[in-house]
């Protein structure tokens, strides 16, 4: 609970500057860091928190609120290629570069996001798979950019790195919420952010952000570092292992 208490001022800060008493979000996350070790097959993040209303509870007569949680991986610059049929075979033809595509994007909400906010708000806060702002690094016609963006999102969705989970956020008694977001094994490493939005009548009343650090640990970290920094030693080790295993099997087979 100390963590939770530490976040209150942050949450207060985000709600400041808005007129009148506004509800405040106090978010937390089940794991501040995820360590990728040999047995890693993905992880479940539990995002939970409280909605603090000025009067302690949802004012009478007010419309119920919605909670939207967005978990994003570190952004990366990507090159998207499109295959075309050329002389009977499918080859890469057009390409488009995006400067900042999230490596992971999951959106969980208490109701389908289209029912909660309008297109404009979704574009501003990047709510929903079709509202991502990927900043294409080209001046290709917008029709082509849309096509590539759809292709990119669809591809990421199919490998489980982008997804939307409408109705995955549970709100209890109007004041407590929780959502489970699955992190797949293919996840990239880096700083992840979990943004929580409190929305009422299509307006974002409060927002708060927590971070989750995903890193390789132990042997996996050692191997990934060795491959990157001591590539010659790493390569020699790989060759030595191959030769040793092959030799051992040959010797063993002669004895049998």
């Amino acid at each position: 609970m100390r963590r939770l208490a530490a976040l209150v001022p942050l949450a207060l800060l985000t709600a400041q500057g808005q007129p009148g008493p506004k509800p405040v979000l106090v978010p937390d996350v089940s794991q501040r860091s995820i360590r990728i070790v040999y047995s890693f097959t993905g992880a479940d993040l539990l995002l939970f928190g409280a909605i603090l209303y000025p009067g302690g509870r949802l004012p009478r007569g007010e419309r119920p609120v919605d909670i939207v949680v967005v978990v994003k991986g570190p952004t990366e610059s990507v090159l998207v290629r499109e295959k075309e049929r050329l002389a009977g075979i499918w080859v890469n033809a057009d390409q488009l570069r995006y400067r900042s595509a999230p490596s992971f994007y999951a959106i969980a909400s208490s109701r389908p996001i289209e029912e909660i906010v309008d297109d404009k708000t979704r574009a501003i806060y990047e709510l929903g798979l079709d509202s991502l702002q990927l900043s294409p690094a080209s001046n290709a016609p917008s029709e082509q950019q849309d096509r590539f963006q759809q292709g990119l999102v669809e591809l990421k969705r199919r490998v489980g790195l982008y997804y939307a989970a409408p109705r995955a956020v549970e709100i209890t008694g109007g004041v407590l919420y929780r959502a489970r977001v699955a992190i797949p094994a293919r996840v990239p490493v880096g700083k992840f952010t979990a943004e929580t939005f409190l929305i009422q009548k299509g307006r974002v009343l409060a927002a708060a952000t927590t971070t989750v650090d995903i890193q390789k640990a132990g042997f996996e970290r050692f191997v990934a570092r060795a491959a990157e920094r001591n590539s010659v030693v790493y390569g020699l080790t790989a060759v030595a292992i191959s030769v040793a295993l092959g030799w051992a099997a040959g010797l063993a087979a002669r004895r049998l």
């Binding site: 040999y38 090159l79 390409q95 094994a185 390569g235 040959g250």
Partner: protein
């Protein structure tokens, strides 16, 4: 049993990879090929990124060829002078291959080019083997002894300068011939993650005209060193060698190779060649279909 691969950045079922290595090892022991031409496509089908698959498959071939080289060495079946020429060419070729790999990767055509090379290579060699093995089986059925083919090298090879004697191979040819042959297979080793045995062996028999007793041992000798060089090149340039993946493949394949070698002793060689030809053609057809069918993924994403 799920295991996370630190370079491929994904979790795989370790047992599946070991069995995959074992299956390929079994075939490589039976047919005397490295099996890289099966490992790389199978790993890609399993979901391993193509670069990691090609880089890690090379080290599996290294392991599979070690015990073969030792066995042939003891029988005196390795022509070291010829092998050294092939290895020299192979190392040069793997550097060239790494350069082409990079070029194609930047142009976004790596996957297509690799697939096309696979189809052409496997298709033509598989076809040749199929014809040859069917002829041999036909002859055996009719009770005729196969006519021993006259051993001679290609006239083009004879025209190369600086001829020297290769005693174990029973040849008096230019060292440039094995150097160029090694170079060509070295390029393919880096690009495709294959040892190149199924190109080297026919080339050594039909182009160079080597004494058959030294062919397999010498080709394994070249494969051992060139796949090791290819692993080093991948480790330092693409940084895509996954040591965990390679280890899993190796454990399966070195065991499989020994079992395969025992099975091979009990089956008639022409039937073995027929089976290998059928398998090679099957893989070629599968890759060809992948090229001409509308792919499931029209878009591909890479970090840039």
């Amino acid at each position: 049993m799920d295991l996370y691969l630190p370079i491929a950045n994904l979790s795989v079922n370790a047992l599946v990879i070991v069995l995959l290595g074992g299956g390929v090892g079994l075939l490589s022991g039976m047919f005397g090929v490295g099996g890289g031409f099966l490992t790389t496509p199978l790993l890609i089908v399993y979901g391993i990124p193509p670069t990691v698959a090609a880089a890690s498959a090379a080290s599996q071939v290294t392991g599979a060829s070690v015990s073969g080289v030792l066995a042939h060495w003891r029988r005196g079946g390795v022509d070291v002078k010829m092998g050294a020429m092939l290895v020299g060419g192979g190392v040069l070729g793997s550097l060239v291959g790494a350069w082409i790999f990079r070029l194609l990767q930047d142009a976004g055509q790596l996957d297509t080019v690799i697939a096309v090379i696979y189809v052409l290579l496997l298709g033509s060699i598989g076809g040749m083997m199929l014809r040859e093995s069917l002829q041999a089986i036909g002859l055996a059925r009719r009770g005729e002894a196969p006519r021993p083919a006259k051993r001679r090298h290609h006239p083009l090879i004879a025209s190369l300068p600086f001829r020297t004697r290769f005693y174990k191979s029973g040849l008096y040819i230019s060292p440039l011939a094995p150097l160029l042959l090694g170079l060509a297979t070295g390029v393919l080793t880096v690009m495709l993650g294959i040892g190149g045995g199924f190109i080297l062996v026919p080339a050594m028999i039909y182009l160079l005209g080597m004494a058959t007793g030294a062919v397999v041992g010498t080709s394994l000798f070249q494969i051992l060193f060139v796949t090791a060089a290819a692993t080093m090149i991948h480790a330092t340039t693409t940084k895509a060698v996954d040591i965990v993946l390679a280890g899993l493949l190796l454990v399966g394949s070195v065991v499989g190779a020994q079992v395969g070698a025992r099975i091979a002793g009990r089956v008639k060689p022409e039937w073995l060649r027929l089976a290998l030809a059928a398998m090679v053609l099957l893989v070629a057809t599968r890759i060809l279909l992948g090229l001409v069918w509308r792919p499931a993924e029209i878009y591909s994403v890479e970090l840039a």
